[in-house]
Amino acid sequence: MTEGTRSWQDWLASDAPASRRQARLGEAWRLLRAFLRHRLAVAGLIILGLLLLAALLAPLVAPYPPAAQHLAERLAPPGAQHWLGTDEFGRDILSRLLYGARITLGIVALVTAIAAPVGLAVGCTAGYLGGWADAALMRLTDVFLALPRLILALAFVAALGAGIENAILAIALVAWPPYARIARAETLTVRRTDFIAAARLMGASAARIVLRHIMPLCLASVIVRVSLDMAGVILIAAGLGFLGLGAQPPSPEWGAMIAAGRKFMLDQWWVGAMPGIAVAVVSLGFNLLGDGLRDVLDPKQR
């Protein structure tokens, strides 16, 4: 290790930071090192990084267009021409999986974008206001938590009509309650602190305190929970696609691809097996990452 690297590492790890910036960077550095020591979590991060790359670069790295049919090569086994084989229309399965990564990531992103803010808003409001508002909002959350998520989502999609947008909406609708619980618990720990009292003395409105001071503090716990939940979201989305209630063919959504491969299961196993492996690997990635983040970020576990 050279003199130069030694000194900036010492600066980051210093017990007596001289500036706010040094303290912040130091804390980030400590968390990063704790995270990197967690080998399985890093493996999860790598899996998800590859997923992101696949989704971004699909048009560049996919050997064939996802919808290109080569009927002469239909149901070809995995080989040099088609690494993962072809489906019943002679479409290259690897290319379809790479494009399917976009759909999976899209579902994950949209469900998070809907469910996390709703959960945060409900939880922080309930925790900060207390009293009747708290009781009412939390009973509502408990009711949603106690109901079977998958079946409720199925019924919602059946009512709204099959399709990927409705599937996302239905999943988000059953995904927010855990975030509300967590956000409320975090809010209760900070609402009596001095800096909240100071903000109130300066005339900040309840909305401003919740939005600017409380919500940012709840973010870390919610992010951990979101990354742990994403595996479940991917499984539910694939299940909806498999039942024909989510993304519709010819979309290369992985669950729908498994459903299409079902007809050829006995003789051409790869048509249904490959997308299933993709689903399992990606949700494994989220599980590993979530476990690691919880170990690193949750001070109670340390």
Binding site: R139, L140, D142, V143, F144, A146, L147, P148, R149, L150, I151, L152, L154, A155, F156, V157, A158, A159, L160, G161, A231, L235, A238, G239, F242, L243, G244, L245, G255, I258, R262, M265, L266, W269, G272, A273, G276, V279, A280, V281, S283, L284, N287, L288
Partner: protein
Amino acid sequence: MTPKAATAALRLLAQVLLTLFGLLLATFLIARVVPIDPVLAVVGDRASAEVYQRVRAELGLDQPLWVQFYRYVSLVLHGDFGRSVLTRNLVTADIARFLPATIELATAATALGVLLGIPLGVLAAARQGSWLDQLIRVVGLLGYSIPVFWLGLMALLVFYAEIGWAAGPGRLDVFYEDRLAPTTGLLLVDSALAGDWAIFRSALAHLLLPAGVLGYFSLAYISRMTRSFMLDQLGEEYIVTARAKGLSEARVLWRHALGNVLMPLVTVIALSYASLLEGSVLTETVFAWPGIGSYLTNSLLSIDMNAVLGGTLVVGVIFVTVNLLADLLYRLLDPRMR
């Protein structure tokens, strides 16, 4: 019961009633957002405006929403879920016919999960960091990551089509179907009662794969929880005392530590049972298992809303009830909760 425990039980009961009310409200609202006009479904699209209005009034759709909800709740409480468009039977009759298959499947799967999961969890905790411990970790992680319907397809491919160890889809060989008059609806019980061992063997062969697949997920969850409960107990002082007294390690593990873990495990097992009922929706489709999950899926795909809502309500009520029972059992068994 002490007053404190009584208040706690009352609170729990109130929460359950509220949850069931929420379930009713959710299914009612789902029925409202269906983009199919229920009046048109009855009268057809060539009916005159007067007929349309009359049927609309007969169906109560001209009433305010809360009146409609009241009517819906009173119908449901009288056990009237309407008629299924698909099977043309009463939804309640359909559910009574399909539910036993699901109960049989979920029970067999949970039994597998308990019988294998608890010993594995105990051993993993006893030898923390060993290969067995690592194995449990991997089994658990895969259990949280693999899609259940995909594992079912793969199991059919390998154990039915390739090796031929298990029977294929369905509950019985076609040959035996309708030969057994249902008493409990659980084929294993019915055939044993009738002394028809050929049917019993066929039913068992068919149950093996779906129960094994669902059982894997139950095993993953139960073994992981057993391990972490056991680790908590093994750090306690009474374990040190037991060891100091010279008790054998087996006795310390299986009697002292496990004995204290069984109570929280009851809750875990109940939760696992409830989630298997839910997971059966996807598994039953794969194995053509004629249970409530298949019924629900078929109705979903043909937008047979009476059947969908009836099935959702019944599964939801069982789900909530099993969780409630687990909670009550826990309070009853654990002296600290009394």
